[in-house]
């Protein structure tokens, strides 16, 4: 033991006295650690400043790309640079503002002074925008050790593609409530009455009402005998009228008259100053235009004019029926309404043969009276036309109209579709144009929209499901964006819309939904509904509203304003959909 102790003591005596050695060591350690910590801290701050600079540059690139995305601005690169710089300056960095940023063509390689910044933006020939920036860093701690010419630089790109791109499914509500603001109160093919309103002047509305399905029987035999011969139209129905010289329709108008029986006779010399409700146009409704003008021509050559309050003459009736024949209601009415089976006007008009295509012409014309529905269709027409005219859209169009059901969904419409003649469902037009990878289908979609008739019921979920199927089906162009544009006036009559919206979202589909609330039919629940639809779809989906539940039926002025609003919304939403950050 003694020897071991002696050895231990020998070792310890060899040691130097280490008292006081820790403090110097710690001080040396601090001298090393503090600068290292300072560098680490400044590195963190520099990284954050770089991130902020990157975000500001991104904002600038996106803004400039959006600006250039407007075809009207495409040549104005100088302004785009200013736009980019303005948005760049809006942002802050941790250690300072970017509001003093100056334009520099060499921004990416600049070494600005501390807290100073430079910016540059280039619009490339391929349509992309590149923004570059530099910021002079100001180290928080290391600045005390001297000047550090550090700077952060950033670059960001964005691409603006004008117009709506990819596959687009228009989903159009054609429920009966879309007759809001109409001159008709029911879907046109469901009514025994087709009331045609003529407006002589703005202040003296006049109208002619007649019961097509049940015309005054006493007139009918004579009508049958005189319809063709009386106007000298025999042999002219098929084709000649359309090519005949047509007098100015402004020469003829209907005057207001008391209702007699089931129709209101015309008692004043017809003067059709204008008939805006009918939307009579030689291009869009050539047959109606020709018929009406033939009627006007006949009146102008007729020396016998009905006196005010007089019993309607056969000319009154046959003229009305002539017009109506061009609109289709002289057809066997069972085509559109089984309840009218057996009541065929044709039986009273021997030898009368409506022109080929008159059914479609009738339907088109009658639907122009359908208030909100017509406004909706016209807005879509305008939208598609503008997109096509821009020449920058590569959208592929499709359409699904829906009411009590949707095309492609249920094999037969449900019983709720009371307006449909179940004996002749093929005559019922739900518009449907499927996607075609090889064609944009714009004209087909527009033609289908014109024939979009109405039913009771709003099967929004089925329509959305069909749109999702279409966008995911064989008509989809691989890699193309998928968009559903839904126009509806309110609440569905069947459940499942939110599930369908989620399904769309899972398929990467963007939903743009416009709620049309020109009356209080579905207000405010409908607005809640469409917003929920957009939220549940995700993918940047958006909900918009037109109107705010006005308790009164929409006026023609409101309908017109709504049409413009829908068009504006669609253009606004779609024109920026292609702006993407490249980095």
């Amino acid at each position: 033991m003694a020897g071991r102790h002696a050895g231990s003591c020998l070792l310890t005596t060899r040691r130097r006295d280490e008292r006081g050695s820790i403090i110097p060591f710690a001080l040396v350690l601090l001298v090393v650690l503090i600068p290292i910590g300072a560098i680490a801290y400044d590195a963190c701050m520099a990284r954050e400043q770089f991130n902020q600079l990157q975000a500001a540059t991104d904002a600038a690139a996106l803004a400039a790309a959006t600006y250039l995305n407007d075809p009207n601005n495409s040549d104005n690169t100088g302004t785009a640079q200013q736009v980019g710089l303005a948005y760049f300056q809006q942002n802050m960095l941790q250690s300072g503002s970017l509001s003093g940023a100056t334009f520099s063509s060499t921004a990416l390689s600049d070494s600005p002074m501390a807290r100073a910044s430079t910016f540059n933006l280039v619009a490339n020939a391929n349509g992309t925008v590149t923004a570059q920036s530099a910021f002079g860093l100001q180290p928080f701690l290391l600045k005390f050790l001297g000047t550090f010419p550090l700077h952060a630089s950033s670059t960001a790109g964005a691409l603006g593609t004008a117009g709506l791109t990819g596959d687009v499914a228009l989903v159009v509500d054609l429920s009966a409530s879309m007759t809001a603001g109409s001159n008709i109160t029911t879907p046109p093919h469901t009514s025994h009455y087709v009331r045609v309103y003529h407006k002589a002047t703005a202040t003296t509305p006049a109208y002619l009402t007649y019961n097509v399905a049940k015309p005054p029987s006493s007139y009918l035999p004579q009508l049958g005998n005189n319809l063709l011969s009386g106007f000298g139209l025999s042999g002219r129905i098929n084709g000649v009228i359309q090519n005949a010289a047509i007098p100015d329709p402004a020469q003829v108008a209907f005057a207001p008259n008391p209702t007699v029986g089931s129709y209101t006779p015309v008692t004043a010399p017809p003067q059709i100053a204008s008939a805006p409700e009918l939307s009579i146009d030689p291009t869009t409704t050539p047959m109606m235009y020709a018929a009406l003008n033939a009627y006007a021509q006949a009146w102008s050559s007729n020396s016998v004019k009905p006196a005010a309050g007089a019993v309607p003459t056969i000319e009154d009736v046959k003229a009305a029926l002539l017009i109506e024949s061009k609109r289709g209601d002289l057809e066997n009415s069972t085509v559109y309404n089984s309840s009218n089976a057996g009541i065929s006007c044709l039986q009273y008009i021997p030898g009368f043969s409506p022109e080929p295509g008159y059914q479609a012409e009738y339907q088109k014309l009658a639907l122009t009276l359908s208030g909100a529905r017509q406004m909706e269709i016209e807005a879509l027409h305008s939208f598609i036309d503008q997109m096509q005219a821009s020449g920058s859209s590569n959208a592929h169009w499709s359409v699904i109209g829906f009411g009590a059901s949707a095309p492609g969904g249920k094999p037969t419409p449900p019983a709720a579709a009371t307006t449909l003649d179940t004996a002749n469902p093929q005559a019922f037009h739900f518009p449907e144009v499927t996607l075609d990878p090889g064609a944009n289908n714009a004209s087909q979609v527009e033609a289908a929209l014109d024939m979009a008739t109405l039913t009771w019921g709003t099967d929004t979920p089925e329509a959305l499901q069909e749109a999702v199927k279409m966008l995911n089906g064989s008509g989809h162009t691989k890699g193309s964006p998928k968009t559903i544009i839904l126009l509806t006036d309110g609440m569905p009559t069947l459940p499942g819309s939110y599930a369908a919206a989620k399904l769309a979202g899972q398929s990467g589909i963007r939903l743009v939904v416009i709620g049309i609330f020109l009356s209080n039919y579905a207000w405010p629940d409908g607005w809640h509904f469409v917003q929920e639809l957009a939220k549940k779809t995700g993918n940047g989906s958006q909900a918009f509203k037109v109107g705010d539940g006005n308790p009164s039926p929409p006026s023609s002025a409101l309908l017109s304003a709504a049409q413009g609003a829908i068009n504006d919304i669609l253009l606004k939403v779609t024109k920026t959909s292609g702006v993407v950050a490249l980095q």
Binding site: R19, A59, T79, Q82, A86, M92
Partner: protein, 211 residues
């Protein structure tokens, strides 16, 4: 038992042990705060990074909207993905959304596509501010608050309103009768979520959501 001379078996005297303790204490007075400060900085850097990234994504999401309410909703949805479960670093929260509709002299909303040199001072923008509260291990002296270990980190980004501007924004103080209320979370859902308290909804105004 004097303080000098007598050595233990390790060869160190009691006086040496004592001096070591004193030195360690002295060293600790300097090094421990440095170490704690370093840990604090790590937490703050991490929190700042999360908050900054959340704010950037929130601003990006909000910039896709056309009015205040959907913008604030989008911003809140965006920061959800940055939520931090437990730990000392809190979750980022949207504390402010400003949707600047920027109107021209006629009161019409300005869009980016409409900008030219004469109105570049008016920009349709969406500014999103987020905050994150980080608890640091060592209390810090925070001005008037004195010593606190709760540090609030704030970040703000301004992005262009990329999708245009809703000409008729529905940003008013909603009664909850329509879906705008969906952007006003209840106190049980998210007390930090924004509530539209100030906006008049008038086109051309600057709408603000603040907490």
């Amino acid at each position: 038992m004097g303080s000098t001379g007598k050595k233990n078996c390790a060869g160190t005297s009691r006086s040496q042990s004592a001096s070591t303790l004193v030195e360690l204490a002295c060293m600790g007075i300097v090094l421990v705060p440095v170490a704690l400060l370093a840990v604090n900085i790590c937490y703050l850097a991490a929190g700042s990074y999360i908050n900054d990234a959340a704010c950037r994504e929130a601003a990006r999401a909000a910039s896709q909207q056309t009015s205040l309410d959907p913008a604030s909703g989008a911003a809140q949805a965006a920061v959800q993905s940055f939520a931090v479960a437990g730990g000392l670093i809190g979750s980022p929260q949207v504390t402010g959304v400003v949707f600047d509709y920027s109107t021209d002299s006629n009161g019409n909303p300005i869009e980016i596509a409409d900008l030219d040199k004469t109105i570049l001072s008016k920009l349709p923008t969406v500014q999103v501010t987020t905050q994150l509260t980080a608890r640091v291990p060592a209390p810090l002296l925070m001005g008037s608050k004195g010593l606190t270990n709760h540090v609030v980190l704030s970040s703000s980004y301004t992005f262009p309103a990329l999708s245009g501007v809703d000409p008729s924004p529905n940003d008013t103080n909603d009664t909850g009768s329509d879906n705008t209320a969906a952007y006003q979370p209840t106190s049980t859902e998210d007390t930090s979520a924004p509530v539209d308290t100030t906006d008049s909804g008038t086109t051309g105004s600057t709408s603000t959501v603040s907490q």
